[in-house]
Amino acid sequence: MAPLLILAWGALAVIALTILGALGALIGQLPLDRLLEALGQEETLFALLMSLRTSALALGLALFLGIPAAWLLARRRFPGKVLVETLLDLPMVTPPLVAGMGLLFLLGREGPVVGVLGMDPFGLLFSPAGVVLAQTYIAVSVLTRSARAAFQAVNPDYAGQAATLGLSPGWAFLLVEVPMAGRGLVSAAILAWARALGEFGATLMVAGATRMRTETLPMAVFLNIASGETEIAIACALLLLSLAFCLLLGIRALTGGSERGAGHAPA
């Protein structure tokens, strides 16, 4: 077992040190006073607020669409289910830039939506609404997948039990199944929110990269690195990292940390 353990510890150390190195390099780029100054810049604050607002809206939409869809996938069999599940997973594995391109062509002037409706009904493209759309597109996929696993972990007989107690399917879903899957659903929501906060590629295609208009934190990093203003870029990157770290910590706290699920050696 010793060589395997050495290999495993070595691999873990390489992975952890690489991440720590990248983080350290980022943090070490700016002295504290200049970092604080960059964090106080109007553009940084705008990007932070834009990211928080749009990602919160995207999370709301993703919850509204993703929770019922996840329940359906967890509870019902239907023809073509495997295809539907694969389709729903697609935004998670395709580059967001490609997803954004698809949305752009779908909602663009020559796209089928405008063709059918005769006008752009949403004003989504190249606006903050477009940011929400792109973030929702990615977040809903993450949320549906994780929430489906959360519902699958709840014994479906509980719904039948609730029915014998006088609860309609809708109330049984809201008052029994959702609370019972609650911890998994909150984890799913946090994960989806983290993905929405960090969304870049699809947002770039759908909402564009316009300073002080569609400028989320990832967009601010991109715009400022491209224009050589690294201080704001670093400040925004650190904000993103801090938010992501807090969200991941939240998931850890909810799921009981790394100890849960750790196996014991057989006796």
Binding site: D157, L165, G166, L167
Partner: protein
């Protein structure tokens, strides 16, 4: 008119079965494990599809969804809501009752008392013993005062002493509340204690039995 009337009921493992249960009567279906007893009870509860006709108070149940069937269902798998205390489970069940909040609270208090679980009202299922969990499940099933009680070997996982105690209590409660009951079990003693009449389930058919569970070979319906 019988309170519960099964006519040509079929499930994947059973039937066709005919059975009538009178108002306030408790009938036990006695049969070995895997004979389809639970399936039949689930069909009566509306939890699985079935063939034939099930009538309650003369009304066909086929188009009545489970949550409108006025039943209480108690099984060996308690399926207690892990996020709710004993009292909160009862409040949830009574949440849709038309009665005032005060009357609902009184019903919760009275049901907890009847099922002798008041002292654990604020505990969640994982803080209860096996017997207490069954009492809590019984309280939850009785909270709405259903007209029909369906019992699916509810106490088979408990120790013999607790089991006998709960048999006596449930039998008494059922009579006190005047409920009609259908009990399925593989235990002749449980059938005898809980029910007024015992029917044996053999090869997917119902056979009349005496109170002790011995088959007499009579076909159902028995009344």
């Amino acid at each position: 008119m019988p309170r519960l009337d099964l006519e040509g009921v079929t499930t994947p493992f059973l039937g066709p079965l005919d059975l009538s249960v009178a108002d306030g009567e408790a009938v036990a279906l006695l049969g070995p494990s895997g004979s389809g007893k639970t399936t039949l009870l689930k069909a009566v509860a509306g939890l699985i599809p079935h063939g034939g006709r099930i009538r309650f108070d003369g009304r066909p149940m086929e188009r009545t969804p489970p949550h409108h069937r006025d039943i209480g269902y108690l099984s060996q798998d308690v399926l207690a809501f892990p996020h709710l205390s004993v009292a909160a489970s009862l409040r949830l069940v009574l949440f849709f009752d038309q009665a005032s909040a005060g009357r609902r609270a009184e019903r919760v208090r009275r049901t907890l008392e009847l099922c002798a679980i008041t002292h654990r009202a604020d505990r969640r299922p994982d803080q209860l013993s096996g017997g207490e969990r069954q009492r809590a499940a019984l309280a939850r099933a009785l909270a709405r005062r259903p007209s029909l009680l369906l019992l699916d070997e509810p106490f088979s996982s408990l120790d013999p002493e607790t089991r006998r105690q709960l048999w006596a209590e449930v039998g008494g409660l059922r009579r006190t509340l005047g409920m009609t009951a259908l009990v399925v079990t593989h235990d002749p003693e449980e059938a005898r204690v809980l029910a007024d009449r015992v029917i044996y389930l053999r090869d997917g058919k119902l056979v009349q039995a005496d109170k002790g569970g011995a088959s007499t070979g009579a076909r159902s319906p028995a009344r």
